[in-house]
């Protein structure tokens, strides 16, 4: 079982080398599946069918198992993300200080729920269970930048700016 035939990546995209390195570091074992999926997602932004197939064959893991693992964990996404990302914290502190109103406002304005991307692909709405900035609750993270003390107005303002920048 040691000298498994190497499977060729789906394309000569350089990013596959990073994925291969992760698999190699984990000895091409099934236990490295989650680590490998993390690398694919980091490199390509999401997990498409092609990459899942490649990972499954490389790690000798059944396709359905790879799919099962990819959909079990919140952090993996099988669809491409929007250009921008808005992560609203739903930790307890943020919740009691007004997260539900933020989400509702976004849903009313842009028609998306957490985990979804606007139709125009402008941004994805995500939720996180506590980003660890409870002192600033409620908190939202816009493209990695944490902004505290959010109100529906302030959140909408930030989102609108993404559209204005286009």
């Amino acid at each position: 079982m040691q000298n498994l035939k190497q499977i060729d990546p789906p394309s000569d995209d350089k990013r596959w080398r990073i994925v291969q390195a992760t698999m190699r570091r984990n000895g091409h074992k099934r236990s490295g599946l989650i680590e490998t999926l993390h690398t694919v997602q980091e490199s390509f932004g999401f997990l498409d069918e092609e990459s899942l197939r490649y990972v499954a064959f490389s790690l000798r893991t059944p396709l359905s198992q790879v799919y099962g693992v990819s959909t079990f964990y919140h952090l993996f996404s099988l669809k491409p993300a929007g250009k921008h990302s808005c992560v609203v914290c739903t930790g307890t502190a943020c919740y009691i200080k007004g997260t539900p109103q933020l989400l509702q406002e976004i849903q009313e304005m842009y028609g998306i729920k957490p985990g979804e991307t606007t139709e125009d692909g402008a941004f994805s709405l995500l939720t996180a269970r506590c980003v660890g900035s409870c002192g600033l609750a409620p908190v939202a993270v816009f493209d990695g930048e944490v902004l505290g003390n959010q109100t529906p107005d302030r959140t909408m303002e930030t989102l609108r700016r993404w559209y204005d920048d286009e």
């Binding site: 599946l33 680590e35 993390h38 307890t92 269970r129 409870c134």
Partner: protein, 552 residues
């Protein structure tokens, strides 16, 4: 090895002695999210421009505790240590003001954060002893602060049994929530027969919403956790450890990676730990967003690369764990307590706390409280002291209604019970649990049905789906709570909710389902009237105040 430690320590001290002043900027998650990295840069730049970079040390440190006042900056002076200051809400804009004051030997009074307050004075720091003092990215500073001494003592002067005895004597109990005696767990794994090898796993999948203790320890003092794990590995006869970290904690992961490399290079990790024949490797495993992976057996499944679904216990991981081998699983804070226990002895540790709950506990204070942040207090301290003295009470002149501990597995403790000492048994008697350390304060604006609904929604989305009671029961309970909260339910539906609570608690496969009804049960126990007030046919009481019933 000891000589090497001494050399490092001497060098560190000499380096520190060269500076007249020191500026410590908090670069842990909460301050970092308020751009404390830019503050750090500004200080470096300003001091350089003023020609003081040689006399003033500037470094990023771990959590300084009072997150609500962040970014925090601590300034100390070698010649007058008594007049060190803590500055709050420091921005790149007002940093020059502090530099100017520093240069002039003065204090930027309007930015000072008072440290003679109970928040700073009432804490006892063991786990967080280095937090805010050392640069988490430099192993030298950890060593200079007495780090890896415990490990060195353990592997060179003690037998594995001695180490376990010391942990046993300390009375340390699992800090992940359950409170199982750590020494007992270690003994079981040490005695278990391995087919090939044993494993140590550090559970850093901190998932309770509103809890960030483990994250802070990992970001502020990562070596402490590595040291604790390595000591555990020596004690139970394991040569391999995994740290299972939440994928949402990239900073913690980066610092751990760095720490592992530094520890290997120094020879306190890897093959031949501290020059002995004991080998211990640590690998990081990244979680991918699943609360259920905090459950031991689900965590093991996840480390094995599978869906994080639990399996019934027994057999416990201590006998049948990772890849079917005996496995020790402790959480971050538990491991972080180990090095000082070995360094100072179990009796020293057992001298703190209550009869059954020893040592200290780290809490993340959040919610309707003035001082949100991270605190470490001795076990047995009354909740009232945490909330009103350390926490500074409830803001906006509002009234405290309840304190929630234990996250989605815990419960709400009403104001009438605030004298309760914080220990495992007392909290359990009140229908809550110690949990991993999230402590959320709620004032009169929180509706307890809504709170219960929030936690049920959490359990529902985090249920793995393996067992029926948790998978479907949580959904049914959530819908019922939603209906009650919307004022559309009847007493019949409240009765159904209570019936489901009992059934889900008794029949679910793992802790997530078994404890999912806790927030409902505890709010029903103390705030039943709030439920009744929302029912279409509920008995209404005109008096607003609910008197909590003292139930056995």
């Amino acid at each position: 090895m000891n000589e090497q430690f001494e050399q490092i320590t001497a060098k560190e001290q000499a380096a520190a002695a060269k500076f007249d002043n020191a500026v410590h900027v908090c670069v842990a998650a909460s301050c970092l999210s308020s751009q404390s990295d830019k503050v750090l840069e500004t200080f470096q730049q300003q001091l350089k421009e003023n020609g003081h970079s040689a006399s003033c040390q500037v470094k990023g440190v771990g959590c300084l505790g009072l997150c609500s006042r962040g970014p925090l900056v601590a300034v100390s002076h070698r010649d007058r240590p008594e007049s060190s200051e803590l500055y709050q809400h420091v921005t790149p804009d007002n940093a020059p003001q502090i530099v100017a004051a520093l240069v002039a030997g003065e204090t930027a009074a309007d930015l000072v954060c008072a440290t003679d307050t109970p928040f700073f004075q009432r804490q006892t720091k063991i786990v967080l002893e280095n937090s805010g003092h050392i640069d988490p990215e430099r192993i030298e500073e950890y060593v200079a602060a007495g780090g890896y001494q415990g490990l060195l003592t353990a592997v060179t002067e003690m037998t594995p049994n001695d180490v376990i005895d010391e942990v046993m004597r300390s009375g340390l109990r699992g800090r992940g929530g359950g409170g199982y005696p750590t020494g007992l767990k270690w003994t079981t794994v040490a005695k278990a027969d391995a087919k090939q090898r044993k494993y140590v796993i550090c559970n850093a999948d901190e998932g309770d919403p509103g809890a960030f203790m483990d994250r802070s320890v990992l970001e502020s003092d990562p070596h402490r956790v590595l040291e604790g794990m390595t000591i555990a590995g020596y004690a139970i006869g394991a040569d391999k450890g995994y740290i299972y970290v939440r994928g949402e904690y990239p900073l913690a992961v980066a610092r751990l990676k760095k720490a592992i490399n530094q520890a290997r290079r120094l020879g306190v990790l890897g093959s031949g730990v501290c020059g002995t024949t004991f080998n211990f490797q640590i690998e990081i495993r990244l979680g991918a967003g699943a609360f259920v992976c905090g459950e031991e057996t689900a965590l093991i499944a996840s480390v094995e690369g599978k869906r994080g679904q639990p399996r019934p216990r027994p057999p416990y991981p201590a006998e049948y764990g990772l890849w079917g081998e005996p496995t020790l699983i402790n959480n971050v804070e538990t491991f972080a307590n180990v090095p000082p226990i070995i360094r100072n002895g179990g009796d020293w540790y057992a001298g703190m706390g209550t009869a059954k709950s020893k040592g200290t506990k780290v809490f993340a204070l959040a919610g309707a409280i003035n001082n949100t942040g991270l605190i470490e207090v001795p076990m047995g301290i009354p909740l009232r002291e945490i909330v009103y003295e350390i926490g500074g009470g409830v803001p906006h002149g509002r009234v405290l209604k309840a304190v929630q501990t234990g996250g989605p597995s815990g419960g709400c403790i009403p104001e009438a019970y605030l004298e309760t000492p914080v220990d495992y048994e007392s909290l359990q008697q009140l229908g809550s649990i110690m949990g991993s350390g999230g402590l959320i304060v709620m004032d009169e604006t929180s509706n307890m049905v809504d709170v219960a609904r929030y936690f049920m929604e959490f359990c529902m989305t985090e249920s793995c789906g393996k067992c029926v009671p948790c998978r479907v029961g949580t959904v049914q309970m959530y819908h019922l709570l939603d209906k009650i909260y919307a004022g559309q339910a009847t007493t019949k539906e409240l009765a159904l909710l209570e019936k489901l609570c009992k059934m889900v608690r008794e029949t679910s496969l793992c802790g997530l389902g078994q404890t999912a009804p806790n927030p409902v049960n505890s709010t029903l126990r103390y705030f039943r009237q709030e439920y009744l007030d929302l029912l279409l046919d509920g008995e209404r009481v005109t008096a607003v105040a609910t008197t909590p019933e003292a139930q056995p």
